[in-house]
Symmetry: C4
Subunit: 504 residues, 4 copies
């Protein structure tokens, strides 16, 4: 018997190639020796060991694009085909994970593991979704628990996640009247490239969790709607496939986690350059992963049922997908590395994750073409100031930055009027993240539909404000008084004079 | 077979005159050719096409006053009477929409469409309603879902809608004691015309949705109570009928949406002048309709079941009644057009929808007799500052405006003490909108009852504040400290110096 | 047939003496002609007419003390005894309201009216109640719906009622440490009279609704605990009985509604003086009653079932007990009348209901010995600033007032620490109202128990603050920063310069 | 018949040695005469009298460590062994409290009292708990109602308890980017002693209520994790046992309630010195116990069923464990006593419970080595300013204090980022209280697991803030604007000039 889950209650002695020292898995009827690969898997070894000696097709396909395994592993690691049944005893009887097998030879625990949960939830027709929050509401029902936890979760108590949105909403608008608003223009140049709208698809990992078309559908939707996609370096599909899914000449950006093995990053940057990527968004707010508890709880449960108690007992940091995927990120990345990234890629660099005016000023000094004010959607440091406050802090402390580079912002923007507020505060464009992931439930159609909703809401908000071009957006359209008192004065505090003995 | 609903599941081949190219409908047993009318229907063609080739009486009567069809359509479009059964095959068998027909010849889908939902809800006796919120609570139960959605809905996330009321309530009062308050006077001159109270019926579209007497009942109630009604230019009844329902010499105002076909507006203005209307309230906060999602969701459902998927798929902006009715509004209306309206009508003009001190100043400059501080009840731009903040902004930036024209305000005023707060801040009168629509559930009696409640609450609040005339209301009666920090400084922000390259 | 309820469904023709022109009622087996009395009944005629021609004993006893009828009506109005069955046909068959009569001769509607509702709720033992809020929680269950509505209700939307308590709680304390707090003293002289604690029983109408012992139990409890009771002029018991229930020399205050028939007030004041009352608390915040909707709704229901539709239809102001009882209050009372009250009574006068610094200053000018900062427990003008804000306003604008007269305060004080906060802000004593009414559920024991709880809480708070005498309480013990921004600057507003043409 | 509960319904005449004048109890099969001990029991006599003449083993063991009875009572009070059945009639039939006895000779009320409630709740595996709040959630389910009430309760309305946490959370962080954060150090010297982390186990009474290992498990966990335990002077285990449970040279602090019998305190201090305790944390915020209502309610119920109504009736202050345990605390402790404590113990003194800048300054003056900003977890004076505000008040008024002594803080810190905020404001270390009590449900493993979670969260927060040593934490990492307005100016108030006649 081959396929299994590990359980303290079942004997494992008869399962072959199922240990850290000798680990085979089957994916799409092909059997691979992944013993050496275990230690370099970005997602960590535990998640592979769950399927050691068994069929990992279902779990693999949920996250990875087809072909990645072949690209990654040396051909010498290929053991054989399940169908041929040559090398692996019982291989022919490996049940496909997507079937609800009723094979009497399979003992109980196994049958349970391959049962497909039949969910009665039916997604509503796409045209009945009329706002970004509608997509969120559907996603909560329609996605798998794992996908929902991974996408929707944010750090610890969700304080920053909620403040991101709440503070944008607390900015009020001051509409002007009796202006000709028959036609409006929302086109914008972003880092010199045309976009039909002043927002773009913010990078988010593992789009395939929402739909098998994953980032390909994002590319196709962006193509049809004329907006820019910023591709995650943790995308489910290879960069080339994603770029290839769009039209010729379509503008893409690449989000970059710098790998502690720098050569791997250099390779990725060269590939990006060759594929015609327009800019590199270097993530700087996540040298380590935040603690996304919803994500980690699901992981903990998996670990509980699948790997040895000893392993779980030793790891008190949780094992969520977010944390696992962050393991390869270089924790030693510093300002001086920016020039290296520019040099290797030959592309403009935008810092994604700026959270203080001081660092916005440094970004100018180090030659960045842009900054993205972001706290990773509240997914890294819970309690970090919400994005809109950082934007106002820049206005207060170093407004000249807004004239020296392009400023992007994300975190809680899900209405056309939200986007207009950011534009009025000088943002070049706004990143929209989770809503696009959720739109993927409807593949390319969903991406288009969401884009059209946001464009329509933005145009409506502009007309009602009395402006016809996004270039006319300015702070006078806003009443920010409800949050003005929250804007930091930078390193100075009204009540605090004390300086620690040892300082930054 | 004639009456039907369109469904993707039923064949439409046998239904005649049911396409955009050849469309007849029956209303009150008369059959009309509305093919040419489709494109100019204020409510859009889709809502008519639902009944193409069938009986539209029920849907028509819910919104339109009797006789409007005859007034609007050329006699050449009259095809014949259903009863005569001459021109239209099967016309005699068209079921009346208000009957629960058990005719075996009608196929299933049709029978369902004519079923009258029997709701067990019984409105409570009028005298048990003792406040405006009571009317709202009853309306939520008693109105049809469509009427409730249309009246109660506001833009997107209802932020402005809720802030309107919440901020009025956060103003506190500072009652004075030991004054003779035996008798109080709440009479006020409004634009030179007598009113028994410093509030009036704010214009709201389609009163017939609440009661078949619609705006006629509002006129009769206003007559009995001696208050002024501001008639919506989207009223269910013709202007003449409404004015005629009141007493001789009764004061009315007319709310105006300027039509992009200016001559239609000119015609309406001349009619208003001839009917003795006292002033024109030009709506300036809605060049396009806001996105009222509750309204649009119902529309979306209707569209879903009734028109082809292709049509719905192309329209990602929703199809709520509010949006449909706004289609004819002139998006090119500018300040210079004010004088044209004054000239054509010969009437004083009040701008309805002023949302900033700067525009209040412009209103003085362009010769308006009044402004109405309003955000359309939160129905246009969600996030717009609530009305009471705009009033305070005027106090801060241009208090002289209050001496140069009359200032009206609406949005969230539903208590006598709410009205007193606006008066203390210099408002001439307060508009009360939704509560009057809801009062229509009891026709004229409801309008009177609500008016008496508001008058009584206002008088009580005045006595408890130690004043006996509304002319004595002044800012010293208020403690506005809880919202003072929210008042905008106009175009200047404490933290923001930055100016966009291209500005207004 | 005699006893009945009036109902639109039952014929009334056979009921004698049941009209406004000829009205008899039976109370405790005595029949009275109350035709003339109807128009001067403080509670209005409607409530009597409900029982016209029938037995009103139960309703009478719920509100009135025994013997008041005999004192009030001329002997000529006495018709006879029910038992004697002489003058009144069928009088012998009048069912007692407190019996669940199963007499077959009584038609259905009547039998329903005499059914005694059996409530299964059992009050918990007194000693398990350990705080004032505990009494409230029990009262909500144990009181009759009418009593609960009358006591707990406040004006319209309960904004002031809730703010009263909320803002006291938002004041924080700054405890001092390492002081000898072995024994503390909470004794205080109040208007020159000894009290064992710096709080007193605030006047509240109709204590008999909570317990048959009503104000007598309050007097007995105050006697045992050595605190002062301020008797309501709407007390259920005669003033003499209440004073007589206490010990010799016990201190009482009398709350006064000035009657529009001044001689009645003069008579009451002379009686108070003769009974040894120590001070008169003149209510000045209620020239008319506030709109207590919970109270009025119950009234509306009664009216609905009992009096003619015409009457109800004419009265759109509601008919709650609070409003009815306020009818006799003199709406023409002015500052100049204070000296008359002082003269007639020969007693010090305290103004109850001061709500602005300006009126606190006037109180000094007009020779008051004290003011009570109060908004009637939020029962008059909803939206009035909460008491604690008025106290802070006095500190800001006219702190010298605190040295010129004694300042009392009530509204939302239900913890020992709440009381300590008021003392720290200069209050001589704090009025506790509703909690004492609720304590009456346990008669005198409840009054004592509540008093002991409050004393214990106050002592504990003092010890934890590091003070041993209430004379040591001072503003430095408080952190009021959370509400400082809400304190009014009096008649001046930071944003408002505008003056109305006609001003106070 | 021996074992019983006292009930008003059962006759007590046949129970011997069950009165205040003659009281025996059995504990672990040994019978003691506790008549004299009743009056000096720290927990008061009532709790013992519940078991007078019966078996108190279960109640005793829940709170007390084994052997304490033998240590405390003179051998002359030992009556004999239950097993021997010599001196006590029916002693042999005393049912063990942990058995569900079905003995027919035991009358009904007794059998009920010995029933063991079988709770179906199963604690989840330890590794699935991934945060301090997880421990709280489990504790609410897993602890006995008495233990949960005692640990979780706080004073009266829980205002301070909730503000402690809420205000820490309202401080935002300003992360810095692009710094090398590969390795971080969280080690700190605390009063000169090494700690692996800048937090310690805050003292909390009666750890045995959570687990039989009580404070021993805390000591063992602290040993393994290298952190410091501050032992409560109300610990369940003797001081020597707790210190002995750790490793040689392990650092402990002792929290001290000064006994009104000073010699007992002197004895304890000498013992502490001899055991190698490193510092004395003198509790100064609880000269009397706060009113923890959840705790008192349970007590009230017990009292209700177990002791005579007369006793309960006389005690209207409640009888919670917290209040009972505070009875021996010296209410006369003053600043001058600090030197006595230092002298007797020869140890550095830290004041636990400083709540104002003024007292922080006095602590410097009186030679304390540290202060602990604390309000006893909101358990003493409800309404006291939350700890983080006091810390900011010190920054505002006397920042020099931070350089003159070590500042500790507790109250609501349960996340690594919470701890980092305190460090950035100059705290040497943060006390963690309730979470460690809850971690005891898993004995030593729980203590370790919680410690590792907090360390990991702190390290993650530091890396995401861009610092690698806790010495780099500084105010510039924080945005405190959301709470800055709440910081007191000390004894001065913006609106208050008034001074009471008699002042501190």
């Amino acid at each position: 018997m081959w396929h299994h889950i590990r359980s303290p209650f079942s004997s494992q002695s008869e399962i072959k190639h199922s240990t850290e020292q000798d680990c085979w898995i089957a994916v799409s009827s092909k059997v691979w020796d992944v013993t050496d690969f275990l230690s370099i898997h970005l997602g960590g070894p535990a998640v592979i060991l769950k399927y050691a000696g068994g069929d990992a097709t279902e779990a693999y396909e949920e996250i990875h694009a087809p072909g990645i395994l072949e690209e990654t592993l040396d051909q010498s690691k290929f053991i054989g085909n399940l169908a041929a049944s040559i090398d692996i005893p019982q291989a022919a009887t490996v049940p496909k994970a997507t079937e609800n097998v009723q094979n009497e030879e399979i003992p109980e625990p196994i049958r349970e593991s391959v049962k497909v949960e039949t969910t009665p939830y039916q997604k509503p027709p796409l045209f009945t979704l009329i706002s970004a929050p509608d997509f969120t509401a559907v996603a909560e029902q329609a996605l798998t628990p794992k996908a929902w936890a991974f996408y929707s979760s944010a750090a610890t108590d969700l304080i920053t996640h909620r403040l991101n949105k709440a503070l944008v909403r607390r900015i009020m608008m001051r509409p002007r009247i009796l202006r000709n608003v028959k036609s409006v223009s929302i086109k914008r140049k972003v880092l010199g490239h045309d976009s039909s709208a002043p927002f773009f698809i913010s990078p988010a990992a593992m789009a395939r969790l929402a739909h098998k078309d994953g980032e390909l559908a994002l590319a196709r939707g962006a193509s049809k709607e004329g907006i820019i996609q910023c591709i995650s370096s943790n995308a489910s599909y290879p960069l080339g496939s994603i770029v290839g899914a769009g039209h010729k000449g379509q503008s893409f950006f690449l989000q970059l986690y710098v790998n502690s093995e720098r050569e791997k990053t250099a390779e990725l940057l060269r590939k990006a350059r060759d594929l015609g990527i327009k800019a590199i968004f270097v993530t700087v707010d996540a040298p380590v992963a935040g603690k996304r508890e919803a994500d980690e709880r699901l992981a903990a449960e998996n670990v509980a049922s699948a790997v040895s108690g000893a392993v779980a007992g030793n790891d008190k940091k949780g094992g969520g997908m977010g944390r696992l995927m962050a393991q390869y990120v270089d924790k030693e990345l510093v300002w001086e590395d920016i020039s290296w990234i520019k040099q290797v890629s030959g592309l403009p660099v935008v810092l994604k994750g700026v959270q203080s005016a001081a660092d916005a000023q440094l970004a100018v000094k180090y030659g960045c073409k842009g900054i993205m004010v972001s706290n990773h959607g509240g997914r890294t440091l819970d309690g970090a100031q919400p994005s809109i406050l950082v934007l106002l802090e820049i206005h207060q402390i170093c407004p000249e930055v807004l004239d020296k580079l392009e400023v992007f912002v994300d975190g809680g923007f899900e209405r056309g009027s939200d986007i207009l507020k950011a534009l009025a505060l000088g943002a070049t464009a706004v990143g929209v993240g989770r809503p696009y992931l959720y739109s993927l439930m409807y593949s390319t159609d969903g991406v288009e539909h969401l884009t059209q909703i946001l464009k329509d809401e933005l145009e409506t908000a502009m007309k009602l404000c009395g402006i016809t071009s996004i270039d006319e957006a300015h702070p006078g359209l806003l009443n920010t008084r409800d949050i003005d008192h929250l804007v930091s004065n930078g390193d100075t505090h009204p009540h605090i004079k004390w300086k620690p003995r040892s300082r930054l």
